[in-house]
């Protein structure tokens, strides 16, 4: 327990050194909201709620990319990161503290989105659904966090910048976050159930707007999470810090 507190304090202190990433991720989804969501679906309460939920998901993806992908990757090339790797103890305190930090970030970035939706659109939501929605968002952190952890430990730290910028967009797109969740036609709609991003998204939509969850997506969710977990563990064990040709 004590080590978790100590690690959390350290996470916070280290995060303060890459502040621009976090500032960007707090603003981006809000801008997206204002530019795309409100004009398009502002009048339809259900659609607006669903679209807000989608933007929150994009925010979660961006947070995971920044926190797990970027921060881990940068940590690998810093001497302090190398030193911490020599210390005993499994990754558990570190993982828990990172999840705590993720939770804080998710809440911080989604509250403005929800506020914007609440004030400018006709969307409405019960407190219970809101809390369920947040729970589902936090659940979404698990597979994406694991994925970006695996990427952070596997990919060369030099390549991580573009990757963490692109990954959230690509993942959001193939998850169908930018389109109507209920659209069933077309190649994307068919493929998306098998892709990792769809499962948690559907849970959020279910909490917010009564979307009915697809079984295949749920199975994919579990399978992909297991795959990412295994990959993340292997990548962590095999990590040897920066490598130059």
């Amino acid at each position: 327990m004590k080590s978790i507190v100590v690690y959390s304090k350290f996470e916070l202190l280290q995060a303060m050194r890459i502040p621009m990433v976090y500032v960007a991720l707090l603003f981006m989804p809000s801008v997206g909201m204002v530019l795309f969501v409100i004009p398009a679906v502002g009048d339809d309460p259900l659609a607006a709620a669903m679209a807000t939920a989608s933007m929150c998901l994009v925010a979660v993806l961006t947070i995971c990319a920044a926190q797990y992908g970027m921060a881990i990757s940068i940590g690998r090339i810093q001497p302090w990161g190398a030193y911490v790797r020599t210390l005993p103890g499994g990754p558990l305190p570190r993982i828990v503290s990172m999840l705590v930090f993720s939770t804080v970030l998710v809440v911080f970035s989604c509250v403005p989105l929800i506020a914007i939706a609440g004030f400018t659109t006709s969307a409405s939501i019960s407190v219970g659904s809101l809390l369920l929605g947040f729970a589902a968002l936090l659940l979404a952190v698990v597979p994406f966090g694991l994925l970006m952890t695996a990427v952070g430990y596997s990919v060369s730290p030099m390549a991580i910048g573009p990757l963490t910028s692109l990954a959230p967009i690509v993942l959001a797109f193939v998850g169908g976050f930018f389109t109507d969740p209920n659209a069933t036609g077309g190649l994307l709609a068919t493929l998306t159930q098998f892709l990792p991003t769809r499962g948690p998204a559907e849970l959020v939509w279910a909490a917010v707007g009564g979307y009915s969850v697809n079984l295949i997506s749920m199975v994919s969710f579990v399978v992909w999470t297991a795959i990412f977990a295994a990959w993340a563990y292997r990548a962590y064990r095999n990590d040897e810090g920066k490598r130059f040709a």
Binding site: K2, S3, V6, Y7, K9, F10, L13, Q14, M16, R17, Q78, P79, W80, A82, Y83, R85, T86, L87, P88, G89, G90, P93, R237, E240, G241, R243, A245
Partner: protein, 293 residues
């Protein structure tokens, strides 16, 4: 039979085309202070990195307390000071110690550790506000937080002034007196001579010598002839040549013959001195940095 705490058996480490470590075998017995010497790029840091689990050998086996160096059980009994340690700037010295201590089941008391490394006044200082020497002392202190049985110190006194170095040497001696084992990498030959009982000299990834300090001095039987001379004539029997300022130092087994040859060569010289060989001379000869004239 002293317990072997860590060992490398037939270890090779390659980075692409470069072979950093080539078939090295080293045992580290309990209670010893082992000095690892070598020119830059010899592979000392790579060896240390493999012992602490930061790198894996390409071939061969590295064991730490009988385990893979990446295992928790092994790491609990070990401490490291890498060559570069930069702590997060906003963290205070005391917080850094607490952070490292939280990893160990029975860490040393913070005030005791800070006192041993003369850091007591800096407890509340942020690491960004430390001088280079203070930072280095902290980095070495962190290696001892978990009451380890074995510490790896990679160039611990680089960048320290004389007083800082002596403080650290005392800390290391105290640790060894209490039964701790130390593996020390250094450029400073006087440091190794002062602290180490046994020296392993690594050059181009290979072990060139592995013996006690005394044996190395005696074994090589070298003596140093120092002279001021405009140019060094061809002289047989010279094992190594070093130029420092306007002095030339010739390392040889037979200084008397060397002086005769020097006189016969007719080259004008002055300030002739003959010294007993030191570890430095052994090192120079064994790594043959400058070929004999």
């Amino acid at each position: 039979m002293t317990e072997v705490l860590a060992r490398a058996v037939g270890v090779t480490r390659r980075y692409g085309d470069v072979t950093a470590i080539d078939d090295v075998s080293v045992d580290i017995p309990a209670g010893q202070v082992l000095g690892m010497l070598g020119p830059n790029g010899a592979g000392k840091s790579t060896m240390v990195n493999m012992f602490v689990g930061l790198r894996r050998p390409t071939e061969g086996l590295v064991e730490l307390f009988g385990h893979d160096p990446r295992d928790v059980a092994a790491r609990r009994r070990m401490g490291v000071t890498p060559q570069e340690t930069s702590l997060p700037q906003t963290v205070r010295v005391g917080e850094a110690v607490d952070f490292v201590a939280s990893h160990f089941p029975d860490p040393i008391r913070k005030d005791e550790l800070l006192a041993r490394f003369a850091l007591t006044d800096l407890d509340r200082r942020q690491t960004g506000g430390l001088s280079g020497g203070q930072m280095r002392r902290l980095a070495v202190a962190l290696a001892f937080v978990g009451k380890p049985d074995l510490v790896f110190l990679d160039e611990p006194t680089t960048g320290l002034d004389v007083e800082g170095r002596h403080t650290l040497w005392d800390g290391i001696r105290e640790f060894n007196a209490e039964g701790g084992t130390v593996v020390l990498t250094s450029h400073y030959l006087d440091e190794v001579e002062q602290l180490a009982e046994r020296v392993v000299i690594i050059d181009h990834g290979r072990v060139v010598a592995d013996d006690s300090v005394d044996a190395l001095r005696r074994l090589t039987g070298l003596q140093r002839v120092s002279v001021s001379v405009p140019e060094v004539p061809p002289l047989p029997g010279v094992e190594g040549v070093e130029h420092i300022g306007d002095r030339t130092h010739l390392v040889t087994h037979d200084p008397d013959q060397l002086v005769r040859d020097l006189v016969h060569s007719g080259v004008p010289f002055s300030g002739l001195e003959i010294h007993a060989g030191s570890l430095e001379d052994a090192f120079l000869a064994l790594t043959a940095k400058i070929p004999a004239a």
